[in-house]
C-alpha cells in the first residue's frame, strides 16, 4: 500500500441534507479506476437522512488530480468506444426525450455538469429544433471540448454562474449531483433558475440498488472513489429536493450496466486478478455491458435498478425563489 505517489489533501464533510456529521461507516475503497492517488477513502451514511457521502473527501484544490486528462466524461468519444458509444447515444437520447417530452418547442434547457456536452449534443440532434440549449461545467478541459462542439457553456459552479432568474424550462443533472460539493446549494440555485413549474431531471447512482447492497463495503462502481461525494436512494434524493423547493413528479430506477461492470472490475483488480480478466470488465467491452444490461433490467423491474431517475418540478407554491 505504501507508495511514492503524493497523498491528497482532504477535508471533512457533512450530510448535504441535515448538515450534521451523525454518520456511520459503510465502505472503504481506493481509486481503482484511475489510481490518481495512494489514498483510501471512507464512505459513511447519515444516520438521519440515509445519504451516503465521502468523509473525509479531497479538497477542492485537488480536482485537477482526481479528474485526470483521460477521465472518461471528458474523453468519451466514438473513436475509442465504438459500438458502445453508438448504443449509449441511442439509448440516452430516447430516455432524455421521454423525460422532457412535455416541454414547449422553444424551451430553454440547461445541463448542469454537462461535461464534454454529450447529452446536449444528443438533444440538439434528436430534440425539437427550437430548443435552446446551454450547459454549465466546472472543469475547463471539459468545457472547452463542449464549446468545440458548438455548445454554449458557462464555465464554473452552478451556484456562482450568473444565469438570471426564472429563465429555464428544464434543468438536467445527469450523473452530476454525486460529484458536487454541496448538492443542496446547487439545487437551490437551480430552483431559482427555473420558471415556476419548471422541471429538474436528476439521474444518479442508486444506493437502493442491488449492486450497492452487494458491493457497498468496497468495490461498488457507483463510489467512483474519490469522485462521488454524495450518493442517494429514492427517499434521500426526494428529501433533498423537497428541502430545496421542489415537488416530486416521478422517481424511478433505471437500468445501467456501468456500476455492475465496475463493481466486478474493481473487485478483480483489488484481488490481483490477471489483467486480461480485469480488462474484460470495462466500458470498452460490449459483451460485459450487454450482459449486465440484461441482468440489471430485471433489477429495474424490482425497482432496484442501478440508476435513480427523478423528475422534480419547481414548487408552484413558492412564489419567491428560495434564499441560498
Amino acid at each position: 500500500m505504501i507508495s511514492s505517489q503524493r497523498a491528497l489533501e482532504t477535508q471533512p464533510a457533512c450530510c448535504c441534507i441535515c448538515g450534521t456529521r451523525d454518520a456511520e461507516p459503510v465502505g472503504v475503497g481506493e481509486d481503482f479506476e484511475y489510481r490518481t492517488s495512494p489514498d483510501s477513502f471512507l464512505a459513511v451514511r447519515c444516520t438521519r437522512c440515509g445519504v451516503v457521502y465521502l468523509d473525509p473527501r479531497p479538497s477542492m484544490n485537488e480536482l485537477e488530480t482526481i479528474y485526470p486528462d483521460d477521465y472518461h466524461a471528458f474523453a468519451f468519444d466514438e473513436a475509442r468506444f465504438g459500438i458502445v458509444y453508438k448504443a449509449r447515444s441511442r439509448l440516452e437520447a430516447r430516455r432524455l426525450l421521454k423525460a422532457l417530452s412535455g416541454l414547449p418547442s422553444d424551451a430553454r434547457i440547461l445541463d448542469v455538469g454537462c461535461g464534454d456536452g454529450f447529452h446536449l449534443d444528443l438533444l440538439r440532434q434528436s430534440g425539437p429544433n427550437g430548443w435552446r440549449l446551454e450547459g454549465v461545467e466546472l472543469d475547463h478541459r471539459a468545457a472547452t471540448i463542449a464549446r468545440q462542439r458548438g455548445i454554449s457553456v458557462h464555465q464554473g459552479r452552478i451556484e456562482d454562474a450568473d444565469l438570471g432568474q426564472s429563465r429555464f424550462d428544464a434543468v438536467m443533472l445527469i450523473q452530476t449531483i454525486e460529484h458536487l460539493a454541496d448538492p443542496m446549494r446547487a439545487l437551490k440555485a437551480i430552483q431559482r433558475l427555473l420558471v415556476p413549474g419548471g422541471l429538474l431531471l436528476i439521474v444518479t447512482d442508486n444506493t437502493g440498488s442491488l449492486d450497492f447492497a452487494i458491493a457497498k463495503r468496497r468495490h461498488w462502481g457507483g463510489y467512483h472513489w474519490p469522485r462521488h461525494w454524495y450518493l442517494f436512494n429514492a427517499s434521500s434524493l426526494k428529501e433533498l429536493a423537497t428541502r430545496s423547493g421542489f415537488e416530486t413528479v416521478d422517481i424511478s430506477t433505471m437500468t445501467s450496466p456501468v456500476n455492475w461492470t465496475y463493481s466486478v472490475r474493481n473487485a478483480l483488480d483489488d484481488w490481483g486478478a490477471p489483467r486480461r480478466l480485469v480488462d474484460f470488465f470495462s466500458l470498452e467491452s460490449p459483451v460485459a455491458l450487454a450482459a449486465f444490461t440484461v441482468f440489471d433490467a430485471f433489477n429495474t423491474l424490482a425497482r432496484r435498478g442501478a440508476l435513480l431517475r427523478a423528475v422534480f418540478a419547481r414548487a408552484q407554491s413558492t412564489e419567491e425563489p428560495l434564499e441560498s
Binding site: M1, I2, S3, Q5, A7, T10, P12, C14, G19, T20, R21, D22, E24, P25, G27, V28, S37, P38, D39, S40, F41, L42, P56, R217, R218, H219, W271
Partner: protein, 446 residues
Amino acid sequence: MSARPAADEAPIAIIGSGVSGLAAARELMHLGFDATVYESSNQIGGMADTQRDPDGFIFDTGAHFITNRFATAIGIAPLCRTVHRYGETVWSDGRAYDYPFGLMRNPRYLRGAINARIRSKRSVETAADQFRSEYGSEIADEVALPLLEQWSGLPADRLSPAVADKLPGGILATLALKLSARATNRAVAIGYCREAPQSANVWHVYPENGIATICAALTTELGDAVQTGNPVERVLTTDGRAVGVVVNGREIPAAAVISTLPVPHLAALTDEESLQPFRELRYRAMVFVNIMLRGCDVMPDTLTWTPGVEFPCFRISETTRSMPWLAPTGSTIITADFGATVGDSTWTEDDQVLEEMVLKALCAIVPSARRDFLGSRVLRSAFAYPIFDLAYEETRLALGRGTGIERLLSVGRNGEFAHILMEDSYWRTLRQVRALAAQLNESVQN
C-alpha cells in the same frame, strides 16, 4: 459544515492526548467548536506508543493492529502496510491448535462443546458459567478459564459474564471471514470491531513508522490546542454540570469536559458524590516481556494462548509473523504477556528474572530459543485491562449509561471501562462527541 451559532462559550476541555482525546478534539474542530487538550505527559499518544531499539527492533506497548478502515478515517492509509496474515493458536498438551475451530480436533473438546450446545441453558451469572455454557466445561476449564483468570487476576466465578463477549456474527460469519482472508491474502479483521460491520474488506494494517503514527496524524490539524506537560488537577462542577478544569493551579472555564482518563482517576478529580462509586473500578496491569531472537516464524502463529501451568504468562505473540518489518531481517520478537497488579511480585520483578522465566517456558515451543537469543526488553502498562469484577457490576453498568454529570463525558478504553480497541473507541467517541456538540448547539440557540 453547519455554521455554529456565535458562541461566547469557553472552549471544551479534553483530558488526555491518547487516541480518544485527540479524536474528540479533531471532531469538535470539524464541528466548529474550540477545544483544548490537556496532557500530563510531555508527549502525546498515551497507550498508543511505539519504542525503537537502535538495532531496528520496534516495540509497541502490547500488540497493536488497526484496520484499513480506521486508518482511512484518520487519513493515514497511505502510510500503512497491509498485514497479510494473522492467526491465533492455543498451546495445549505440547501442541498447537488453531483458535477457535482447531480446538474441535480434540475429541473431548468437541464432545463437550456439542453437549453445551444441546443442553438447555442454565442461568448464567458469572464468566465461568458463561464460558462453560458456550464452549462446554472441557474447553472452559482447561483453556478459557485459566487464561481468563491470569488475564484478570480473579477467579472466573467472580467475574461478570460480560467479559465473554461473543464473536460478532457467530460461527458461520467467522468461518466466511477466515476463508476470505485466505482468498484475498489479507488479515481480515475478525471479532476486532463491534461498532462498525465486519467484512472481507476490513483488514489489519500497520503504520510504517509504528503505532505512534496514529496520534501524530490526529494532531496535525490541532496545532497549539494540544498542551503537553499540563496535567488536569481538578474537574470543576456546579449543580451537576461540568464547568471547568484546574491546570497548574489555574481554574479554566470549559463549555464541557471530555475525559479519557481511567474513570476512577476522573472520579478522584471531582467532588461530585455521584462519581465516587467509580473509584472502586480496577484495572489489570500487564508486563510485556519482549524477547529478541534470531530466525523468524518460530511460533505456531502470530498469537499463542498458553493456559498451561508450565507457562508463567498467559499468551505469547510473535508479532513479526504478521508484521515482519518490526524486526530486522532474519530476526524476530517474541512477546510474553504477564497479568499483574501494580506493585505485586510480577510487576516489580527484575527484568533479567522475567527474561529467564520466559526463555525457560518458551523452550517447550521454540527449542532453539536460548541458542538464538539476542536480548530482551520489558515494558509495563498499569492500565491494560478493565477488570469486570462482579463485586462492582452495578457500578460498571451504571457507567455505561454515562457519567451522570451534565457536559462531562468519560470516553476511550479506560474512560468507558470497556475492552475495546482503538477503532471501536474512535467510533464511540465520535458518537458521544457529536451528541454533546448537538446539545451545546441547542443550548446556545435557546
